[in-house]
């Protein structure tokens, strides 16, 4: 059996990669992918806890809800990115700098 801690370390690493992606990427699509990595890292974490420690329905239900919320977020995010790309021809936020102060 793989010990629980491996899953936790893996999901923490995945979360950190996602976090790094959001903070360091210049490309909005890359940032969006970072957010998705974060959410999926949480899913792994939840499922690991659920299957090793706390059998019950809570963990599973939560994972399902996280899935759906993540999909909804991507839909909104992609729509915004496409809309901004059509006007500005870029997906790099630093080049979209109408707001300063």
């Amino acid at each position: 059996m793989i010990p629980l801690s491996w899953y936790l370390i893996f999901s923490a690493a995945l979360f950190s990669i996602g976090l790094f992606g959001v903070l360091a990427r210049k490309n909005v699509i890359g940032m969006l992918m970072g957010v998705e990595l974060m959410l999926n890292a949480v899913n792994i974490n939840l499922l690991a806890f659920w299957s090793y420690l706390y059998a019950g329905v809570n963990g599973l239900v939560f994972v399902a809800i996280v899935f759906v919320a993540a999909a909804a977020e991507v839909a909104v995010g992609l729509a915004l990115i496409i809309s901004i790309y059509r006007r500005k021809r870029t997906v790099v936020p630093d080049e979209v700098d109408g707001l300063r102060g």
């Binding site: 979360f15 974060m38 420690l53 909104v76 901004i84 979209v96 707001l99």
Partner: protein
């Protein structure tokens, strides 16, 4: 699930269902009659407000204890629903004038309010997350509602990226809490904390992640960077709505979760909260001074208000003070809501095509040419500052006095000093309105006017009976525990 469960959260069910109905009805409403959509949404909100009031504050649980309705939820729901009505009143004429008129705005607003109401009912961290998404997603779209304006799209994109990032942090916090205790429901978490079983390190880490995530949502320094840009870029009615709704919902979640679950972590968390509150008050107020754009000015002011609200949180673990301080926070939220909607109502009447009329200098002469609007704006600015005879004064008074009561004299002093600093930029608006010559073009609209004047009247009127408002807030809190 039974009918009883649905009956317990009937107002929420009706509101969510109504938002779907309005969304569909809007498809068959012709383009030049979008007033019907607004009216339909407003009727729905009034009905739901009636149902909420009829339900009262009796404590009821539903859906296996994941949802809890109590006085705390009642108090905040009324704020959200009235805020929704004000949001519609502000939006209708503005959207028409700026040629943004699309019916989807109103269903989105209703869905966001459903999320906020769900947040107040949440007795389970799964529901907290669900409500957070439900209220955030419509707000992202509303921020980008001016699709032909690049600033608005940029604001929406920034809001979306930061918001979903914050959701990720909240979620990871919840996962760690689940790992520490095996529970996502608040009573289960409380029991594990009390029993001392469960992994303390995971608890602390999870609580910290929740705090950071919600700090992003409510605009607490150092997680506030997105706020000025988003506030400036989003269409003004959307900004008004999100500055009240998202903030109040975020604080509602923090209140519910932290006060019930985490009192035993206060040794570690209280200093952090103290520092966050202090730095938020200082940074928000100091950065607001140099702002020339009124929307940015109010954004920094809103950050500063988050600091004041957070101040009530610092003694959250002290059982003797916490109910008082949270009542003070609820009181302050009411004052903040009324004042914010009023101020934005004036700003919306001043805003012209292509984002002109948004500089503070554009307000020159408003006080002489439009005495009523000038008077209303003066009242709001005084209320933000916390000058006596306004609701804002009592809000700050109660906040500071509970902070002193909890033994945080230094924090109350910082609050007092930063309030003095804030007078500098709030009163500058008043000075410009009355002392400088000018003839600002004002686009009057009766609904926006009504919102501004009503808010001004209530801000002044309730200031004469602060005790009874505080009693309401106190009752709301007593049922929280």
């Amino acid at each position: 699930m039974t009918i009883n469960d649905l009956n317990t959260i009937l107002p929420l069910v009706v509101l969510a269902g109504w938002s779907v109905v309005v969304l569909l009805a809007d498809l068959w409403i012709p383009k030049d009659r979008k007033g019907w959509t607004a009216a339909l949404s407003a009727v729905g909100l009034v009905v739901v407000l009636g149902l909420t009031l009829a339900r009262g504050g009796t404590v009821q649980k539903a859906f296996f204890g994941t949802v809890l309705v109590d006085g705390f939820a009642l108090y905040l729901d009324i704020i959200f629903l009235v805020g929704g009505l004000a949001g519609i009143a502000l939006a209708y004429d503005y959207l028409k004038r700026m040629e943004l008129e699309r019916g989807e705005y109103y269903p989105l607003l209703l869905i966001a309010i459903s999320g906020m109401m769900l947040m107040t009912y949440a007795n389970d961290l799964i529901i907290v997350f669900l409500a957070l998404e439900l209220l955030s997603l419509p707000l992202y779209i509303m921020a980008g509602f001016a699709r032909f304006n690049l600033q608005s799209e940029e604001a929406a994109l920034k809001y979306f990226l930061l918001g979903s990032f914050a959701s990720g942090l909240v979620l990871y916090g919840v996962a760690l809490l689940f790992g520490a205790s095996g529970h996502t429901d608040l009573p289960g978490l409380v029991n594990t904390m009390r029993a001392g079983t469960g992994n303390q390190a995971l608890f602390l880490f999870g609580a910290a992640l929740l705090l950071v995530g919600f700090s992003f949502k409510t605009g607490i320094v150092p997680f506030h960077m997105w706020m000025p840009d988003v506030y400036q870029g989003a269409p003004s009615p959307a900004t008004a709505f999100m500055s009240v709704g998202a903030k109040a919902a975020g604080f509602a979640a923090l209140m519910r979760v932290f006060v019930t679950v985490f009192p035993s972590l206060s040794d570690d968390l209280t200093p952090i909260l103290w520092a966050l509150a202090a730095i938020t008050m200082v940074v928000g107020n100091v950065l607001a001074i140099s702002q020339k754009n009124i929307k940015r000015l109010l954004a920094y002011s809103s950050i500063a208000q988050s600091g004041y609200l957070l101040m009530a949180f610092v003694p959250y673990a002290n059982a003797e003070v916490s109910s008082d301080s949270i009542a003070a926070m609820l009181f302050y939220l009411l004052a903040y809501t009324l004042t914010t909607f009023g101020a934005w109502a004036v700003i919306i009447q001043m805003e012209q095509q292509e984002r002109r009329g948004l500089e503070v200098a554009d307000y020159a002469g408003l006080g002489k040419r439009h005495p009523w609007l000038g008077l209303a704006m003066t009242i709001f600015m005084l209320s933000f500052t916390g000058v006596p005879l306004t609701l804002g004064f009592w809000g700050k008074f109660y906040l500071f006095s509970t902070a002193v009561e909890g033994g945080f004299v230094g924090l109350a002093l910082i609050g007092l000093l930063t309030s003095v600093v804030s007078a500098f930029y709030y009163l500058r608006v008043v000075v410009v309105m009355y002392m400088q010559p000018g003839d600002p073009p004002v686009k009057q609209n009766r609904w926006v006017n009504l919102t501004a004047l009503l808010a001004a009247a209530v801000v002044v009127g309730l200031a004469f009976i602060p005790g009874s408002v505080l009693d309401l807030a106190l009752q709301a809190v007593l049922q929280l525990q």
